[in-house]
């Protein structure tokens, strides 16, 4: 399971980096989306992969930390997902504005 996820993260990172280095703004935004999935999964994976142990405790019962998965990476990733949306929106608008101003969708604002 770990291997599959690791390969998945790797492929997403690779695709993301490839797109990040492309000249068209749309490619870059798709690349950033893929990279953010990869990074979120990577951070999430730092808490190790466990099934059927969500970090929801039972009230009134003494808590055994070993019986639950690590909540920290999840909390980190949760906000990262929302912030990721915000940065995607910002980048999209910047690229649209740049396209409107310069008439091209090249990342440098002009064709090479």
């Amino acid at each position: 399971m770990e291997l599959v996820l690791a390969i998945g993260i790797g492929v997403m990172t690779g695709s993301g980096v490839w797109l990040l280095l492309r000249p068209r703004t749309y490619q870059v935004i798709i690349g950033l989306l893929l990279l953010s999935y990869a990074v979120n999964l990577f951070i999430f994976g730092m808490g190790r992969l466990r099934m059927n142990v969500p970090p929801v405790v039972e009230p009134g019962v003494p808590v055994d930390p070993a019986a639950f998965t690590d909540p920290i990476p999840q909390a980190l990733v949760l906000t990262a997902i929302v912030i990721g949306f915000a940065t995607t929106a910002l980048f999209l608008v910047v690229l649209l504005a740049s396209r409107g101003l310069t008439g091209t969708d090249h990342v440098d604002g002009r064709e090479q």
Binding site: L21, A86, V93
Partner: protein, 970 residues
């Protein structure tokens, strides 16, 4: 306790006044002056009230914890020496405010002036009463910044801008050195607390790092007090309004340097290095400053160089390291402040009433302004060191110290002669100031007809000159006890016996004084004719300008070198920058693995669930295909990215992260809608056309990028695999799991972390979200689509053409009707989605859900209405006002956090309780829920604002299109 809090009030008042002053109307000269005057008077009253507490070595301290873990405290500490300075700052501050009321013209924007002036007063007070080294450095920098703002007050004037920038550059660099120096001293003493440091003098002087610390602190002090070779910023700072020159650049701020030297006198003084550095700088400044002052044609220039020279005198005295010299230095700080401030104000009056400060044009003003002239004469006499005035007393003390031997060296032996010559020079420029301006033939061709100023404008000078006289005649009865208080605070047990009498009998210092007075007068007689017509600046040195050297250095550094570096290493192209970033990140990750001998081990497929494997096979194909298609098939790429997102989301479900899965799914939806809205504005890209011009370099670039991408992917996969297969270590997660219910009142630990344990982080994050949404909104307000995307989209054209061809249809029918059924479903879903959002929100503390997820759900509810009915249809029926949602959310989160202050807990401490509600049962009622409500509201506002702003562009471009069509037809 009352005294301690008064100290806090003393510091807070000017800053509060500054904020208030900035809010007045721009012509409120009187209101501003009343406010600033009241603040200064209150400060003065507080300082006077505190005198009994600091008398005879007493200290008032107010300590507030700042960053205890770093040993930093917000400590205020007033002793006798700080008290003396606080008196000068508030007292002269008050007089300057009074003077400025008449000096500033009604056309000047006074709120800015008084606001900066008060803020400076606060910063300067903070500097003198800091009880912590780092705090001292902070206030020190603040005084530099406000000095910069005040010098540049008339920013339409190029000289003011240049002078301000130069002053900031030099004092700022000095301040940086000072900070490092103070940190070294704090490190040696083991604490940044001033009391501890002052008691650790022997330890510091014996330490290896003493010399670097001394040099750095001297850099700070010498730049601030305009000592050679950093003196040249002060004359250029004279472009400031005269009240500023009187206040900052003669009485207070430039004294900060010598204040600092005196403050650390017991810690740093007495060594040979101390003597060499300061005596060298001080003696050169003393003579050169006085010499330069003689040849100035600008009144303020003369006073500026004279100030430099007097500061040099104080530095020289401090360099000697003997207690008596320190007494003289402290005494001269007081005296110089009184006579120099009054002289600056007199120069300002002359400038104000005649319209010029050029001494070649001024003469014979005595007949027009006899009172001002008399006052200026007395003050100049004090500056020249004429008996029966305060300047004479401290100068005598200086001469007496100059003839003593302290650290046997060439400098020490030269000092008596240097002192006498500098004394003679000061007589020359004082005489020149008085004789040129007030005597001689009547002035011709002045811009204004000269006359006496309003009485209250002259009052500050009258007061200060009276002080010079009284102190000069009966020193022991007037300043005696206060000077003693200040001296004891600096020297402690080492306080020497000294006498403040006017007459010490016929001794060597008196003879030196007489020589200086007579020599100076004779020299002035000889130079008089030359001076009345020579150009600005002294002979020989006229060509050698510190200012020009400074500017040349600046140009070399900030222009030539910067351009060289930019031209050779920089690029404006994004791709090389990103490539560099990626490669550096890759190497930075590789290096520690490589150097630590990392061995990933053989991968194994043990325990693989085939379904999970197949799911990821889909995810991998989606990611690769998206990368492949992103250039020419944007919609396909978007769908494929969505596929990868769904696989990510399912992974979260699979691996015990329901909250993440929920949020990921919802964000996936809004992101897709967002990019769909953006797609419309991108240019068409056709594969066949582009394929023609692919060059070899482009191909090579692709291969290289492919290699980089593959390496990065492989690397991250390896690290991820290595970490995930290692046994888990104890993390702070255990603490959160154990305390989520008992401490936070929720069973969903992820949510409790977000809204309770780490809620301050969350608050920062929602603030970022709000800022981004507003930025997007602001950017889109000025959005101009490219010409080729303004036209009606192809799909709509086809639909409209079909409508036109059918006799029973109107144009636009198809566009309206083609999603009739889904849109009715979407309309009907609206209340259901609202209930779903409320449900997700309420259960969030105990089960997967929470403010983020609920907020996005709610936003999707709004969006579906836009999709179903179109922008106009929705906005005719529903006013969403997303900016208010954002504002409410932030305020709600902050108010919840501040609520805990009232109960005596730190910011964002939560309180929870379970309430029994009839029918529903037990519901959690934690304040965290209110915080989560803030998160919810902000997320709704931000998401809706971004998407609606983008959606509105279609309407706007429709309008643009219609307008273009209308002009074409006309």
């Amino acid at each position: 306790m009352a005294d301690e809090n008064l100290l806090l009030l003393l510091l807070a008042l000017p800053f509060l006044g500054s904020i208030l002053a900035g809010a007045f109307r721009s012509n409120a000269r009187n209101a501003e002056a009343w406010l600033a005057g009241a603040v200064a008077l209150c400060g003065l009253a507080i300082t006077i009230y505190l005198y009994p507490a600091v008398d005879d070595g007493g200290v008032v301290r107010r300590q507030i914890e700042w960053i205890p873990s770093l040993g930093l405290g917000f400590t205020l500490r007033m002793d006798g020496f700080a008290w003396m300075f606080a008196m000068l700052i508030t007292g002269i501050g008050f007089l300057v405010v009074l003077y400025a009321r008449y000096y500033m013209s009604p056309a000047d924007p006074v709120p800015r002036f008084f606001s900066f002036l008060l803020a400076f007063m606060g910063a300067m007070l903070g500097m003198v009463i800091s009880g912590d080294l780092i705090l001292l450095a902070v206030f020190w920098e603040l005084t530099s910044i406000f000095s910069f703002l005040l010098i540049g007050y008339w920013y339409h004037n190029a000289a003011a801008r240049d002078g301000a920038r130069m002053a900031l550059t030099i004092t700022g660099v000095g301040g940086l050195c000072l900070l490092v120096g103070l940190m070294i001293i704090g490190h040696i003493a083991g604490s940044y607390d001033l009391d501890v440091v002052l008691a650790a003098g022997d330890k510091i002087r014996a330490h290896d790092l003493y010399l670097p610390a001394l040099i750095l602190i001297c850099m700070g002090a010498l730049t601030k007090s305009a000592q050679f070779p950093f003196h040249f910023w002060l004359p250029n700072a004279m472009a400031a309004p005269t009240p500023v020159s009187a206040y900052l650049h003669s009485a207070t701020m430039v004294k900060a340097g010598v204040f600092l030297l005196a403050r650390f006198f017991p810690v740093l003084a007495g060594t040979y290095e101390w003597f060499i550095i300061l005596a060298f700088a001080g003696m050169i400044t003393l003579t050169l400053g006085a010499y330069f002052a003689i040849f100035q044609q600008d009144l303020k220039g003369l006073l500026a160089y004279s100030t430099i020279s007097h500061l040099g005198l104080i530095t020289t005295l401090l360099s000697l390291g003997s207690p008596l010299a320190a007494v003289a230095a402290i005494f001269h700080m007081m005296n110089h402040a009184t006579f120099k401030a009054s002289l600056f104000m007199a120069a300002g009056i002359i400038d104000h009433e005649t319209g010029t400060r050029d001494m070649r044009r001024l003469s014979g003003l005595f007949a027009f302004m006899p009172i001002t002239a008399t006052l200026a004469m007395v003050a100049s006499a004090a500056m020249a060191g004429v008996p029966l005035l305060n300047g004479f007393l401290s100068k005598e003390m200086f001469f007496a110290e100059a003839i003593e031997t302290h650290a046997d060296s060439f400098l020490d032996r030269a000092l008596p002669y240097v002192a006498t010559v500098a004394g003679a020079f000061s007589v020359v420029y004082s005489l020149r100031f008085i004789h040129t301006v007030f005597f001689g033939p009547k002035p011709v061709d002045l811009p204004h007809e000269p006359h006496e100023p309003p009485h209250w404008m002259r009052f500050p000078i009258e007061f200060l000159v009276l002080a010079c006289l009284v102190v000069g005649v009966i020193p022991g009865l007037t300043v005696g006890p206060y000077l003693h208080t200040a001296v004891v605070a600096v020297l402690g047990d080492a306080t020497p016996q000294y006498s403040l009498a006017v007459w010490h009998g016929l001794n060597v210092p008196l003879i030196m004084s007489v020589i200086a007075l007579i020599g100076g007068t004779v020299l002035y007689m000889l130079l008089k004719r030359y001076l009345s017509r020579c150009e600005e600046g002294p002979p020989i040195f006229r060509r050698l300008k510190g200012q020009r050297i400074f500017e040349r250095i600046l140009v070399t550094l900030s222009w030539r070198w910067a351009r060289f570096v930019e031209g050779n290493l920089g690029t404006r192209r994004l791709q090389p920058q990103l490539r560099l970033l990626v490669v550096v990140a890759f190497l930075a990750a590789l290096w520690p693995l490589f150097s630590a001998g990392f061995n990933p081990g053989l991968p194994s497929f043990d325990g693989l669930d085939p379904v999970f494997g197949m799911m990821w096979a889909v995810g991998i194909v989606c990611a690769l295909a998206a990368a492949y298609q992103a250039k020419y098939h944007r919609l396909a790429a978007l769908i494929l990215v969505g596929g990868a997102g769904i696989v990510t989301c399912l992974t979260f479900v699979w691996l015990s992260a329901p909250d993440l899965a929920l949020t990921q799914l919802l964000v996936e939806i809004v992101t897709t809608v967002l990019i769909l809205l953006g797609l419309r504005w991108l240019p068409k890209r056709v594969e066949e056309i582009d394929a023609v011009g692919v060059t070899i370099t482009a191909r090579l670039r692709r291969h290289r990028d492919f290699a980089i991408a593959t390496l990065c992917g492989a690397g991250i996969a390896m690290i991820a695999y290595a970490v995930m297969t290692r046994p888990v270590v104890d993390t702070i997660g255990d603490y959160f799991l154990e305390h989520a219910y008992s401490g936070g009142g929720g069973t969903n630990v992820v949510n409790v972390i977000l809204v309770d344990f780490r809620s301050f982080d969350t608050m920062g994050e929602i603030a970022v979200l709000g800022v981004v949404a507003l930025t997007v909104f602001a950017l889109l307000r000025r959005f101009r689509p490219a010409a080729d995307s303004i036209e009606t989209p192809e799909q709509q054209r086809i639909q409209n053409a079909y409508d036109d061809a059918q006799p029973d249809r109107e144009t636009g029918d198809t566009a309206r009707e083609y999603i009739m059924v889904p849109s009715i479903i979407m309309n009907w879903m609206f209340p259901v989605i609202i209930v779903l959002a409320a449900y997700l929100f309420l259960r969030g503390h105990d089960l997967p859900g929470g403010g983020f997820a609920a907020g996005i759900t709610m936003a999707i509810g709004f969006l579906l209405q836009y999709l179903a009915g179109g922008t106009r249809w929705v906005e005719e029926r529903l006013r969403i006002l997303p900016v208010r949602w954002i504002g409410f959310g932030l305020l709600m989160a902050a108010a919840t956090g501040m609520g805990s202050w009232f109960l005596g807990y730190p910011f964002l401490t939560t309180y929870f309780q379970y309430l029994e509600v009839p029918l529903i049962g037990k519901v959690p009622a934690a304040t965290a829920l209110l915080f989560d409500l803030g998160v919810f509201s902000l997320v709704v506002g931000a998401v809706v604002l971004v998407l609606i702003a983008l959606a509105h562009q279609s309407i706007r471009s429709y309008r643009v299109r219609e307008a273009a069509k209308a002009t074409e037809e006309a």
